[in-house]
């Protein structure tokens, strides 16, 4: 059974330039089915991204993906693109400067800088290498790693954000992973709007983004529950978390509800 860290690694590969063999392995069965199953569980995991659940609790998470995604998205996720289709999509949409560009980079959906590093155009929105990119670079380096050269322009590329989440989970830093995902995935609502303009081609990626938006919502409700139990922590980090949560709650209100028991 695929664990959540692996699920994020697969999600990362979906948005990244990967080799033909790697994509073939990821989309072959049973790996892809395992990924979809992991996504399904993550969307209804009350202790989102917590310790691996017991078999019985897993069995309880039985709502199908159809309860969380549209029929078209489910269909698209069950039939992932071939390597050539994926590459063709990237050549039209994951390159910059075109009318149909939809590069999955957080900076393009945020204000460039809120003051961490002021410049003549700090308040501009939608530019590469915004604060989220600087943060990602700093964070990766603080954790003893390097931003790979292909992501030099955009350390806040969705593929790298998801990859870092996978690394955190795999390394046992589950609280950090939760906070990281809550903070970092907020821009996906705006990114989803961008993908929607691309037409049918984008169904697969919209489905993936909806999975991520759903996981983030789930994280928010899970965090509420955890916090209710543990009470507030003092200090800067706690305040930050509260701010992040306020944002998450606001976002969750806009997400469509489902009736899973």
């Amino acid at each position: 059974m695929m664990e959540s860290d692996e699920m994020f690694a697969v999600l990362s590969a979906c948005f990244a330039p990967v080799e033909r063999d790697e994509w073939a392995q990821l989309t072959a069965q049973p790996v892809w089915a395992g990924f979809l199953d992991a996504a399904r569980r993550a969307l209804q995991d009350d202790d989102a991204l917590g310790e691996p659940a017991s078999p019985i609790s897993r069995a309880r998470m039985r709502c199908p993906l159809q309860d969380f995604l549209s029929a078209g998205e489910v269909k698209a996720l069950f039939a992932p693109p071939t390597y050539d289709e994926k590459r063709a999509f990237a050549a039209r949409h994951f390159t910059g400067g075109l009318p149909d560009s939809a590069v999955p980079v957080e900076s393009l959906y945020a204000t460039w800088s809120n003051g961490a590093l002021p410049s003549p155009f700090s308040r501009c929105a939608g530019m590469y290498q915004g604060d989220s990119a600087r943060y990602m670079k700093d964070l990766v380096e603080r954790m003893g790693m390097d931003v790979p050269p292909q992501f030099a322009a955009c350390p806040d590329h969705l593929a790298l954000e998801l990859d870092l989440a996978a690394v955190l989970l795999r390394s046992g830093a589950r609280d950090a992973a939760r906070q990281f995902l809550s903070e970092r995935l907020a821009w996906l609502t705006a990114y989803r709007m961008r993908l929607l303009t691309l037409g049918a081609d984008a169904g697969f990626y919209i489905g993936l983004v909806d999975v991520l938006v759903g996981i983030r919502t789930q994280l928010a409700s899970g965090a509420d529950a955890v916090e209710a139990r543990a009470g507030r922590r003092a200090g800067t980090e706690a305040e930050t978390e509260v701010e992040a949560k306020a944002e998450v709650v606001a976002a969750s209100n806009t997400n469509r509800s489902h009736t899973c028991i």
Binding site: M2, D5, E6, V10, A13, A16, E22, Q25, L26, V31, F35, A88, A91, R92, F94, T95, G96, G97, L98, P99, S101, V103, W112, A116, L117, S119, P120, F121, M127, Y128, Q129, D131, S132, R134, Y135, K137, D138, R142, M143, G144, M145, V147, P148, P149, F151, A152, A153, D163, A166, V167, L168, R170, S171, G172, F180, E183, T236, E237, T240, E241
Partner: protein, 734 residues
Amino acid sequence: MSEHAITRRSFLAGSAGAVGLAATAGYMGFGAWEQAHAAGGWRREVTTAHSLCNSCSSKCGFTGYVEDGRLTKMIGDVDHPYCEGTLCARGYGYASIAYSEDRLTDPLKKNDKGEFEAISWEQAYSEIAEKVKAIISSNGPEALAMVQDPRPSGSYYTKRFMQALGSANVYTHGAACNLSKNSGFTQAIGAGDYASDVANSKMTMFIGRSYADAIRPSSVHDLQRARENGAYIVLVDPRCNNTITLADEWVPINPGTDLALVLAMSNVLIKNGLYDKDFVAENGIGFDEWAAAIADHTPQWAEGITGIPASTIERLAVRFAECAPAASIEPSWRGAFGCSYANSGETARAICLFNTLLGCWNQKGGALFLPSVSAGEVDAEKFPAVPKPEGKILGSEEYPLALSSMGVNVILADKAREGAVKGLFFYNSNMAAGYANPDYLAESFSNLDLMVAIDVQMSETCMLADYVLPDTSYLERLELPEFVGGKVPAVTLRDRVIEKVHPNTKPVDEIFSELAEACGVGEYFQFTVDELADAQLRTVGLSLEGLRQAGGTARFPEKEYSYGAAVKWKTPTGKVQFTSEACEKAGLSPVPVWVDPQTKPAGGNQFRVIGGKQAIHTHTQTANIEPLMEITKKYNLERVWMNADKAAQLGIADGDEVEVSNEEHTGRVRVKVTQRINPEALYVPSHYGCTSPDQHTAYNVGLRQMDFVPFSIEPGYGGACTQEAIVTVKKAGA
């Protein structure tokens, strides 16, 4: 392989996919990170480098400050002759292009559906090279051409590339800028340009140029000094431009009639003996012929053409004579006679002759020929000379007066239609939107076998291309040294300020060197830009490292200008040519006389479209820069300007939406109603009407001047006739 190997592979942590406890302890939430930076506790790596702004052709110097890899500050270079320590708004705003979401990030190829797709550099080079070779083999190298807006490295590499392929067809943007002016000047005085000593003048007249709108900081500083010194500053312009705050008089001339004004003022000086007879006798040739030819070009005659009262013309001419030789007509740039009308080249010629009547050449406060320095010969083994192509640049036969150093780029449209040109390259040039009628150009370029555009964002020209190659922004590259003329000439450097934002973009030197290699002429490109820059600097006693250490700009005080030096006229006759044999051969009058513009508004709801810069933009190049476009939107700068009396006649009020229309185009925009414009003119700012949806900020704001301009080329000189356009205007919905 473990079943998890593929799902645990990480871009960051490799095949292990995980990190240790110490590493996870390094985790920090975003809020804490922001606070650490805000508190100043974060270790910041600060670097600086000298560069040259790219927001307009002045290329002012500045030092860029970079903190943790990101541009944070720009300080104008006090040593740079054009900058004098001040950058304009464009300079600051344009820097954001490095980080723009509209940056091209990969080489692109247009597919069968007309959509662009990212491809590898290898594929781009090999396919372009294959087509280049096919064109050369079937039509010869003269069927290839290049259009570029000159920048330090671009000028060198584009020319070298085309010459290596055997083609002389290298064009600047000039035919849509200052070709007619520079070519007309050359016919009269043997030089393409001069500089008015505005700061020390007693009187300077500007014709269609506005220092406060098309800013070069040093020019504005000069004008301020002129005011302090009591100079009389006159603006001849259909539009009362923003320089008026530093000027004494606005002469609201009918657009396209500047030639008549200059000829009439000349007539006044000659008729009244108010010109410098000794200077003319000593330096001129053909004066009597010209004097006879313009004997009837009186102020009264000119009043009927220019709309300027004869008394004003007479007064200005007499005042010029009183102020001479510390007076001149300023050389202008694009505005009124760079490329605008069928009489632009002749206007330029007449202006030089008028200044000659003043005897102001090389006189304090007059019109000066300032010194410049250029790189000498470099090591021929390392940097081998490229054999000069056999053919002449296309267009030189049809437009013999056009300077071959610029070329008549607009003729490429007709050459593409005829099939004489099969392959076109564009570097840093948005010809398709700004040089001539966009529909005509697009239709012409559709006949090409190969069209390649190199740019930082998807311009209208890129949209038409088969291949688009992504350039680095000017902040991300070193270029060849830039030599700047002036009272004290200088050399200055555009150095790399920030690392490449997008790893898959390339600077112009690499693109053309690698393309040359693919085309089989790589032997002329076996050096780096650093090596060539250093070699060029060593020919003038400097070095690349030395110039960097010196702060990026070095002056040559030993070459300092001094007033009063006799001029060696580099004309065929060695004199100021009141008569020109070349002009006569080209079918023009041997002496400059009145020439009608091609078109004239008939009154009523007809207007002539005039363009012109606003202080925050450069042509169409800066419209997609968000901080600059914000200013446009805040002040409604996209509006067209209409004379208030005319507007009242037409029932149009300030802020109304109007429909502007002619056979070429129809568009709607809001109008600014003002007395600050001649009744014949409709001012359409030159920056708007972008039709490239990829430019998210610029797209669909305002009107594009060139949409209304029929395709036409100025006889003899080759200018693009950018203001030979008549439109009708009515209130939208009326």
